[in-house]
Amino acid sequence: MTRALIELPVTADDRRVARLAALAVGLTLAEAALPSPVPGVKPGLANIVVLLVLLQYGWRAAAWVAGLRVLAGGLLLGMLFAPGFWLSAAGATTSLALLAVAQYLPKRHFGPVSLSVLAAFAHIGGQLTLAAVWLLPFAALIKLLPVFAAAALVFGTVNGLIVSRLLAAPSPGRRQSAPCPIP
C-alpha cells in the first residue's frame, strides 16, 4: 500500500498574506453591498489593506493580497471572469504597477496619501482603458471621465488618510502570525 503524501510547506509569510487577503476580500464584499450613484464609483476600501501591506511588508506581499482579493472577491460575488472581474483585475494590475515605482518616492515628502491617490488614479486609469478598448466606445467614457477621476481623488485621499492613521496608531492588537491550532 502506497500513500502519496504531498506536503506544502506553509510559511509565516503565507499565513500573513492569507489573513490580510481575507481582510481585503471582506472589505470588497462589504463594499459591494453599498449602493453606488454611478456604476464603478466605489470607495475601494480593500486598497487600504493593500497599501498597508505595501508599506509594512513590501510590494510582493501587496501584489499577492491584491491578486487574491480580486480572485476571491470575483468568486464570492459570483462574477468570476465576467467583465466586472476583468475590470477589477485591470485596475489592480495598473495600480500595483504604479505602486511598484511610487514606493520609492522619498518618504520624507510623500506619505501614504500620495501613494493612495496615485494608486487610485492608476486603478481607474487601468479600468477605463480596458473598458474603452473592450466594452464601451471611448466617446461615451469621456463624459464620465471627470466623475471617475474626482472619485479617485476623493476616495484615494480618504483611504490614504486612513492608512496614515492606522500606521501612526499604536497597535496593541496587531497579532503576529502563529500556526493555526487544529482542534
Binding site: L105, A139, L161
Partner: protein, 121 residues
C-alpha cells in the same frame, strides 16, 4: 499627517480632475458650418450658416420658421403645442439638433468632421 509631496500630489490630482471636467463638459464642440433641415424625414434644405436668412418649412401642422444668423441657427416659430424645439434656442455646435416632432421638421448642424450622435454594439 500630510507632507509637502502629498499636497503636490493632491494639487495635481485636482488639476487633472478640473482639466478633464473642462475637456468633457465645458469645452466648446466643433463649430458648425451648415444646417441640415428635414421635413417628414427627408432633407429639404441644406444651408450654410454664414448667410443670415429665415426659412419657412411647411409641415402637417403649418409653417416652421427657421432663422439662421451669424453661424447659428434656431427654430424661430413652430405650430407645435409644447414649443420644445423653439425653447431650445440657438444651436451653434456640430451635432446639435432641434426637432419639432408634431410638425415633423428638424434642423441639425453639421461641421467639417461628421460627429457621431450615438454608437451601439
Amino acid at each position: 499627517m500630510l507632507r509637502t509631496g502629498d499636497w503636490t500630489v493632491l494639487a495635481s490630482g485636482t488639476a487633472i480632475v478640473a482639466g478633464l471636467a473642462w475637456q468633457a463638459w465645458l469645452a466648446p464642440g466643433d463649430a458648425a458650418d451648415t444646417a441640415i433641415i428635414r421635413a417628414g424625414g427627408t432633407i429639404v434644405r441644406t444651408v450654410a450658416l454664414s448667410q443670415a436668412q429665415t426659412l419657412a418649412i411647411p409641415g402637417p401642422l403649418g409653417i416652421t420658421r427657421i432663422e439662421i444668423a451669424a453661424g447659428r441657427a434656431r427654430v424661430q416659430a413652430d405650430p407645435s403645442p409644447r414649443q420644445l424645439c423653439v425653447r431650445q434656442g440657438w444651436l451653434a455646435h456640430a451635432g446639435d439638433a432641434a426637432l419639432c416632432l408634431p410638425n415633423q421638421v428638424s434642423i441639425e448642424l453639421a461641421g467639417r468632421s461628421p460627429a457621431h450622435d450615438t454608437r451601439a454594439y
